[in-house]
Structure formats: structure tokens, C-alpha cells
Amino acid sequence: MGIKLKSFSRAMPVKAILMLIAGVCCGVVVGYGASLITWQQLYELYASIQLEDLAIPAVALVAGLTAIVWLFFVTGRTGKDEDVHLILIDRLYTEITVIIGGLVGTLLVYILSAIADQIFYAGERVISYDDACASIGLLSVVFGAGSILFLEVLLSLTRRLKNRTFLKHSILYKLIFIIFDFLKSIFDDRNFRNYSFQKGMFYRQMVFLVAEGILLFIFVLSVLSGTGFLAFAALFLGVVLVYWYVKGNNRVLEDFGKLGEQIEKISGGELNYNPSISELSAVYPMSQKLGSIRDGLLKSLEEQMKGERMRIDLVSNVSHDLKTPLTSIISYVDLLSKEENLTPEVRDYVNILIQKSNRLKNIVTDLFELARTTSGNAEIHQEQLSVKKLLIQTMGDMEDRIESAGIPIKASISDEPMRIVADGNKMYRVLQNLLDNALKYSMVGTRIFLSLEPRGGNAVIAIKNTASYEMDFSAEEIVERFTRGDKARTSEGSGLGLAIAESFVAAMGGQMLVDVDGDQFKVQVLFPLLAQEEWTEEESYEEKEKSELETAGPK
């Protein structure tokens, strides 16, 4: 029963009603009281005041007081927990709230005095009783409303008191806190104790501030007491101190600038820079540490290069070691095949050996090509090429292979002149690899589609074909070294064709994309288009050397 009452009494709507009651009651008390007094003033008949007349204001008084007291008890507490809850108005600083309260209070007092005036005028018979009552009534209403506001202000302060934030939430407190904090920061070296540089700067600043403070104090004292000389001396010292402090700071700033530059150089890769920071400078230890970071970087770079060099040597050494026995095998198998008097069976063996050793030769050659390219070791001679020419040349070059495969190539080449920067020989190899791939693995009766078009600032070469076998691999897998789509095939390819094409393309600054869609296999090669402004004149061959060019004729 007690708990239920508690939570009930704390409910929001209940509080609202209480406020209303309080306000109304205030108004009623004031209004009734005032009109009664007016009646008194007019008719001076104390005896005619009946008890009934006092009934309403009495009730209102009691109700009002009850409501007010109840509110003060209950304010800030909801039924849900034991915390004091604050509302928006409580966000104001204590002083502000007090000021508002003061203003509202003043207003209320003013209303009361206005009511008192009315009573007086009525008593002096300046105005009629009814008029006076009407004005009093109006004023009482305003008083009632105003007292609700006043009540809320008081309640806000009460809440703060209950919350124990009455003082803490005041402006004064905050100001004092800031000043205290600042003073503390001057003297508290906890954050810097471990760093000699910061510690030094910190103490220097502290000394400066304290000294200046003392000098200021002396100055003020001496000015007040009229000792001109002392004042002057203090002023002078103060200025000197400032000069000393600022000079020192500037020096440190300068050194920091040098440190910053040192960092810039290191991050920019220039590892041979030595800053000119004097040993005496506070920044010197930091500069030294930076220097050792740089040394560490240099060393790791060297190691990396050494590692690279070793790897390159390894590749070329192993290359040699692999190719030599392979050469022997191929040579001797060839000699074997040239022997007469071989039984058909033996001849068959020999043929198999020839086939397999050739296959091995292809793999080894491709493998080292790939290794060289991916290690960044292959020679790439970049130059400006016309993509269209490249394609036509390649197709022309491969015509016999295309014919013998029996798979027609449908080419759709954009008329727009397109130039890229790439290595001609390598591009030929790439296209050859891709076309070979398409020719080898296309289903008979289908066509290969070759296209060249500009797209999004790139020249895009696309080769599409329909596979003659089920492509149950992903785009990434097929480009991975040694993966071959049709795992059963034993033809001559090394399985590295696509991987080599991709690494060549990447080394030249292009992009190769493979897309597998059902039976459709699509490879795209993208290269950034060279802007026309940058094209070197193709005509230079023609115009510049027209005179030097020799043609057939009598000599």
C-alpha cells in the first residue's frame, strides 16, 4: 500500500495536476483575500465578514499548501528508480535559474502591489468596488500563472539540491574550476615526467610564468605605493624575461622545423639527409632517434635488394641448370629418331619421347619467362603503339594457325585511332597466347569474337569463345599457373599461357580480366589510351627523312 502510494504520487500526470492546483490556489487566495480586504476598506465592517466568506480562500490555502509541499517532496523522482531526474529547465546554470526566479518573483511582487493599489483606490472611493474586484480578479489570474512559473523555478533549484549539483552546476563553480585547472596545469608535470624534452620545456614555462607573476605583483605594489624605481625595475625585468623566453621558444621552433624536415626526407625516401641540429638543442635526442630509424630503413632496403639479387641469380642459374640436361635429352632423342633399323615399337617410343621432351621444353621456357616477368626482371621496352595495327598484324601472322584450327575469327575493330604505351614484342606474345588459347579450346562449329574498342579511357581488346569442354573453374583458377581447363588434354601447351599473358600485361601497365560465363570464355585486355596530344608524329618517319630515303633508281 505504501509503495503503491509512493509511485502514484510520483507519476507525471499527478505532478502536473498538483502544479495546476497550486497555481489556482495561489490565485484564489490572493484574489479572494484582496477582495475581502477591499470590502473591508470600503465598508469597515469587520463584523460583517462571515465565516462562509473565508471558507473558499481557506480551502484554497490548505489545498495550495498541500500541493506545494507534496511537489517539493516528490520533485525529481519518478516511481521507477531512486535517482533524481532532471528536466530541460534544470540545464540552466544555478545562477541563471536564481536570476529567473528573481525576475518572476519581482513580477509577482509587482502584481501584488498592483492589487494593493486597487484596494487603496477602492478604499479612497476612486474606483467602484466592482471595478476594483474585476481588476483584482484579472491580476489574480496572472498571479496564479506567474506563481506556477515561480514554483517551477523553485522546484528546479530543489531538484538540484536533491541531486547535490546545486553548487557544481553554477557558473562560479565552473569558473573557479577552470582557473584551478589552469594553475594546476602549469605546475603538474605528471604527463611529462618521462620525456626529458617535454619536461624541460614544461619547467621552463612554469618558471617563466611564476617569475612573471611575481614581477607583476611587485610592479602593481610599487605603482600603488608610489615607488617609481621599483616599478620600473620590475617592468624592465619583466620585459627581459619575456625576451629570454620568446627567444628560447623560437630556437626550439626552428629546431622542430629541422626535425620536421628530417622526417619529410625520410618519409620521402631520401635517406642520406643529415639535419644541422646542434648537440645542445633540446631536440637533438629526438633527431638522433630519427637518424637511427633511417639507418634501420637503409639497412632493410639493402637486405631487400640483396635478396632480390640473389633471387635473380637463382632464377638465371637454375634456368641454365634445367636447360642443359633438357637440351641433351632433346638432342639425343633426335639422334635416336634418325637411327635406322628401329622396330616399329621402338620408333613409337622414340616419337613419344620427342613429343614429351618438346612439351617439357615449352614448359621450362614459359616458366622462366614467367619468373623473369613477375620478378620485374624481364626487359620491357615501352613505346607508343597503334592497337589496331597490332591486332591486324597478329592475326595476319597467325593466319595459318587460324586456318588449320578451322575456327573462324570474327573481328570487330573500332575505326577510332587508338594508341597505347606498351612493349610491342610482349603485346604480340600476349595476343598470340590469348588467340592460341581460344583456338585450342573452342568448340568446332563456333566462332571466336575479337573486338577492339575504346571504353572509359582505355583501349579494350576482348576475345570471346565458346569452350569445347565444361569449364568448371573460376576466372582466377584458369589464370593461375599450370591450371588447364581441359585436364584430360595432353597437347603441347604448358598451361602457363594465360599466366604469362597476365604477367606481361601487368608488367606493361595494363589489366587483364577473365570472365567465365557458362560455356562462354571471355578475356579482356585493357590499356590506358594515350591522349592525342602526346602522340609522337607517325609522319616523322616520312617527312623528316624524305630526302634521306632511298628508293629504287639509277645510281
Partner: protein, 233 residues
């Protein structure tokens, strides 16, 4: 005619032996050396018509040996090496070698190149005698201006009129790259449209006729994405 003597130099004995056998089957006399010093010895004391030279050898490597041999002799040298980069080939050729084959090689191709070099060497005497002849000689290729024909290793090659004009243009300006349009303009003497295909076809045919291995042309090269040229030696 006397059998030509070929010197095979390789520090791998099996390979030297296999090459020797291969060449003996092609009617050559073969001598072997296993390092650069031995090679120099033999060259200075014996009559050699062709040298097949490996690069990576002890005592004296193939490139230095080439340089030394070239100081006194004009014998054709074919370099045989596992190094395949373009720059290695250029280096070898600029040292004075006449040809460059990479290991592993195809035996058939080796034989073809040997024969080509031998033919040239044998012909050299015949050509030198006739100083009246106007010729452009690039390696094994020879363009006879008077007879208007192309000889490969001294043997005339049958080219069509157009093919001949193309070869002449490229040989007269050996080392220069010509775009397909330019070739068309000069040879057909008119402006064409979409000439790339036409020119490419002709180039291919020429290659098949004059190159030992059309797939790896030594003279008539495609400068991919730009045009065509005949290499200057």
C-alpha cells in the same frame, strides 16, 4: 667439294657430342672443344669453316672467345646459349657472332642455320671477286640490284614483283621501321584504304621464303603495333 669442318664448343660433353653427331650426319667434319681456350687453339691451328659456340664456359667464355676470334678470322660463328633475353642476343651479335640459337634448340633448326651459314661462307669467295656487282648484303640476304633478285645464302629466291619491291625498300633502308601505309604508298604507288591486312600477308609470304624459321625471323621483323623492318647487321 671438301667437307666443311665445324668446330663445336660447349663445356657439356654430351651436348657437344650430340651436335657433332647431328652435323656428321649432314656431311660435316666435326671437331670439339670444351672451353674458350681450347677453341682458340683449334681455330688458330686448324682450318675451320664454322664455329658453334656456347657462352657459359670455364677458362674463357663464349663472348670473349668470339671477340678474340673476330680479331683475326672471319669464320661464321653461331652462338648457342641458354640466355634468351633480347639483350643477350643483341650482345652476342654485336660481339661479332653471325647467329644466335637458344637452348633448348630444335635440332632441325640448328641444322638449317648451320647450312645457311656454311653456304654463305662458301659463297663469300665467289661474291668478293665480282666488285662490279651492285648489291646490298645483310647477313645471309643479298639483294642484287642489277639482276633485281634476292639471294639467300647465295641462292636466288623466287619472289613476286610486289614482294621484291617490298624487300628492296626495306633492305635499302635497313633498320628503319616502315608503317604498312608507307610501304603501300611506296610500293603500290597509290594511297590505299585498310592496307594493313594486305601488307601483312605479303610480309608473311616473304618471310616464309627467306627466313630459315619464319616463326622466329632473323631479318624481316614485325615491329608490333608500328610497322615492319629489315634488321641491319
Amino acid at each position: 667439294m671438301e667437307k666443311p669442318t665445324v668446330l663445336v664448343v660447349d663445356d657439356d660433353r654430351e651436348i657437344a657430342r650430340a651436335i657433332g653427331k647431328l652435323l656428321e650426319m649432314e656431311d660435316c667434319k666435326v671437331m670439339k672443344a670444351y672451353n674458350g681456350m681450347e677453341a682458340l687453339d683449334i681455330v688458330s691451328t686448324q682450318s675451320i669453316q664454322l664455329i658453334i659456340l656456347d657462352i657459359m664456359m670455364p677458362k674463357l667464355d663464349g663472348l670473349s672467345a668470339t671477340m678474340k676470334i673476330r680479331q683475326s678470322k672471319n669464320i661464321p660463328i653461331i652462338i648457342l646459349s641458354a640466355k634468351t633475353e633480347e639483350s643477350d642476343k643483341i650482345l652476342g651479335l654485336s660481339m661479332g657472332a653471325d647467329d644466335y640459337i637458344t637452348k633448348p634448340y630444335s635440332p632441325a633448326e640448328l641444322v638449317a642455320r648451320v647450312k645457311s651459314q656454311l653456304r654463305r661462307y662458301m659463297q663469300l669467295g665467289a661474291i668478293d671477286g665480282n666488285t662490279n656487282k651492285k648489291q646490298i648484303v645483310i647477313g645471309s640476304l643479298c639483294f642484287d640490284c642489277d639482276a633485281m633478285q634476292v639471294l639467300v645464302d647465295g641462292e636466288p629466291v623466287k619472289l613476286t614483283a610486289t614482294e621484291l619491291k617490298i624487300v628492296e625498300l626495306l633492305m635499302r633502308n635497313a633498320g628503319r621501321v616502315f608503317s604498312a601505309e608507307e610501304i603501300y604508298r611506296r610500293v603500290w604507288e597509290e594511297d590505299g584504304f585498310a592496307v594493313e591486312n594486305t601488307v601483312m600477308v605479303h610480309i608473311r609470304h616473304i618471310r616464309e621464303k627467306i627466313e630459315i624459321n619464319p616463326k622466329e625471323p632473323k631479318y624481316l621483323k614485325v615491329v608490333w603495333g608500328i610497322g615492319y623492318k629489315i634488321e641491319k647487321f
